[in-house]
C-alpha cells in the first residue's frame, strides 16, 4: 500500500495535506485481497458493520477466508453475505445465534468455527495490535473452551493463556473520519472496531462522514490515523435495526 502522510514539523502547522481517502469502496480495497487471507470485521450484530466493504469482498470472489468478527452478522447482511457465497472457511467468533446459515454450515462441517468468549476475543485483538503475544484470563477456566489451553495459577486463582490475534486486513466502520485516518465511532457502533483497527496488517475504514482533518478534536479521536491505511466515505446509510424494541409514549408528556 502506498502510505501518504503529512509534513508536520517544518511548516509551522500549515501541513501539505495528502490523503488516505479513496473515492470508492473498491479502490479502498484495491490490491489488498487474496485467497486464504484473514479478515477482521467490526460490528456487533448489524450495528457498526463495514457493510459496503464486505460487499466488495463478496463481489471480489476471494475465497477460503478466515473471518474474525464477534458475530457473523445475520442472514443476508454483514458477514452473512460471505457465508451465502461460501467464501468463508473459518470463523473466529463469540456468537452465531442470529444466523441460521452459519449454524447450518457449522453443523454440516462446511465451515470451521473457533468460539471465543466475547471479552477474550476483544482482548486477543487488542493484544495483537499492541504487540502482546499472549495473556492470561480467568474467563473460560473449567469450560470446554479452555481445552488445549495452558492453565496457570496466579495468587491462588486459576487462569488460562490466550494469544494475541492479528489479521491480514481489518475492516472497520466509523461515524466520522478525516483524511489522515483519524476515526470517531458513534455510540454502540464502536464495539470491536477500535481494536480491530490496530490489529490489521492493513486497515481500511468505512466512514459515514469524511471530514476535514483538524475538525474531530484531538482529545476525542478513538482511533488515531497511524492504524488506518485508507478511508472511504460510503453513502446510502439507511441503517437497519435487528431487534426493534420500543415503548408507548406516556399519555401525559410530563417531566420526561
Amino acid at each position: 500500500m502506498p502510505l501518504i502522510r503529512r509534513a508536520v514539523w517544518r511548516r509551522d502547522g500549515e501541513a501539505n495535506v495528502v490523503d488516505k481517502a479513496r473515492a470508492r469502496a473498491e479502490e479502498a480495497l484495491d490490491g489488498l485481497l487474496f485467497d486464504g487471507m484473514s479478515i477482521m470485521a467490526g460490528g456487533f450484530g448489524i450495528c457498526g458493520v463495514p457493510e459496503h466493504l464486505i460487499a466488495v469482498i463478496r463481489d471480489s470472489g476471494v475465497r477460503n477466508l478466515t473471518v474474525i468478527s464477534n458475530n457473523c452478522g445475520v442472514d443476508g447482511a454483514a458477514l452473512g453475505l460471505l457465508l451465502e457465497t461460501g467464501q468463508v472457511a473459518k470463523a473466529i467468533s463469540s456468537y452465531v445465534g442470529e444466523n441460521k446459515l452459519f449454524a447450518e454450515q457449522y453443523l454440516t462441517g462446511k465451515i470451521e468455527i473457533e468460539f471465543n468468549p466475547q471479552g477474550t476475543l476483544a482482548e486477543r485483538i487488542r493484544a495483537g495490535g499492541a504487540g502482546i503475544p499472549a495473556f492470561y484470563t480467568r474467563t473460560g477456566v473449567g469450560t470446554p473452551l479452555a481445552k488445549g489451553k495452558e492453565e496457570r495459577t496466579f495468587n491462588g486463582e486459576r487462569f488460562i493463556m490466550e494469544t494475541g490475534l492479528v489479521s491480514d486486513l481489518s475492516l472497520v466502520k466509523a461515524w466520522k473520519g478525516d483524511h489522515e485516518g483519524n476515526l470517531v465511532y458513534r455510540k454502540t457502533a464502536r464495539n470491536f472496531n477500535p481494536m480491530m483497527a490496530t490489529a490489521g496488517k492493513a486497515t481500511v475504514a468505512e466512514l459515514e462522514h469524511l471530514v476535514e482533518t483538524g475538525t474531530l478534536g484531538p482529545d476525542n479521536i478513538h482511533t488515531p490515523g497511524i492504524f488506518v491505511d485508507r478511508v472511504v466515505e460510503s453513502h446510502a446509510y439507511p441503517k437497519r435495526i435487528e431487534k426493534l424494541y420500543t415503548r408507548p409514549r406516556p399519555e401525559t408528556a410530563g417531566a420526561a
Binding site: L107, R138, G142, K187, I241
Partner: protein, 214 residues
C-alpha cells in the same frame, strides 16, 4: 401458585443494592430493570460497550446505533458513556461490575453454570456469558426450574458444556431461591414461592440441599 416471570424478576431485583453497576442478561433478567426497588440507584452495563443503559425508546425514536447486548434498541441517559468491547470487558473481567443476573440451562450444586450450547443441537456460542460469570463479583441466575421434558435444571453435575465453574452465587426459579455460594457450601434453600412446599421443590430438584428458609 408458583412465581410468574414477573415475580421472578421482582425477586431478583431485591438482590440489587444501592450504588451497584449491574449487567442484565436476555429474557427474564432484562425484566429485572422494571422492578428496581425504591431508593436503589444503580447503573446498567451492556457488554457491547454501553454504561448507563436506559429504557426502550419511544415509538419512532429508536437509534440503530444504540443497542444493548441483546441487540434490542435502548436509550441514552445523562450519565451514559460508550466504550470499545475491549474496555467494556475490562470492566467485567476486572471485577468492576457488582452483579450479573442471567439465565441458564443448568446450574449445579457446586455453582457450575451451563448456558451456551447443547452439543449437536444448539450452537449459539458463548457470547459474553463466560466473561460475565468469570469476572462479575456476584452472579445471580434466574431460570425455569425444569426443562419442558420435566428434567430438573438444578443438577448434581452439569451434563451440558460449562459456561463457568463455581461461579453461581444464587438461583431464582419459579419455585424458590437457592444460595449456592459458588460451591463453597452445599446448596441452601432460602425461600419458597407461595404455595410451594419443600417436598415439591425437593422432587423437582436434582441436587441435595439444606433448608434454610428465612
Amino acid at each position: 401458585m408458583a412465581w410468574t416471570r414477573e415475580d421472578m424478576a421482582m425477586r431478583a431485583a431485591k438482590e440489587l443494592k444501592d450504588g451497584f453497576y449491574v449487567n442484565l442478561g436476555i429474557g427474564i433478567p432484562t425484566m429485572v430493570a422494571n422492578y428496581i426497588p425504591e431508593g436503589v440507584n444503580l447503573i446498567l452495563q451492556s457488554e457491547n460497550g454501553m454504561l448507563g443503559t436506559g429504557p426502550f425508546p419511544y415509538e419512532g425514536e429508536a437509534d440503530p446505533d444504540v443497542i444493548n447486548a441483546g441487540k434490542q434498541t435502548v436509550t441514552e441517559l445523562p450519565e451514559t458513556s460508550y466504550c470499545s468491547s475491549a474496555d467494556s470487558f475490562g470492566m467485567i473481567r476486572g471485577g468492576h461490575i457488582n452483579m450479573a443476573i442471567l439465565g441458564a440451562m443448568q446450574v449445579a450444586a457446586n455453582g457450575d453454570l451451563a448456558n451456551w450450547m447443547v452439543p449437536g443441537k444448539m450452537v449459539k456460542g458463548p457470547g459474553g456469558a463466560m466473561d460475565l460469570v468469570a469476572g462479575v463479583r456476584r452472579v445471580v441466575v434466574v431460570m425455569e426450574h425444569c426443562e419442558k421434558t420435566g428434567a430438573s435444571k438444578l443438577v448434581t453435575e452439569c451434563s451440558l458444556p460449562l459456561t463457568g465453574a463455581n461461579v453461581v452465587d444464587m438461583v431464582i426459579t419459579e419455585l424458590g431461591v437457592f444460595d449456592l455460594a459458588r460451591g463453597t457450601h452445599a446448596p441452601a434453600l432460602l425461600e419458597l414461592a407461595p404455595g410451594v412446599t419443600v417436598e415439591e421443590i425437593t422432587a423437582k430438584t436434582q441436587f441435595a440441599f439444606t433448608v434454610a428458609l428465612t
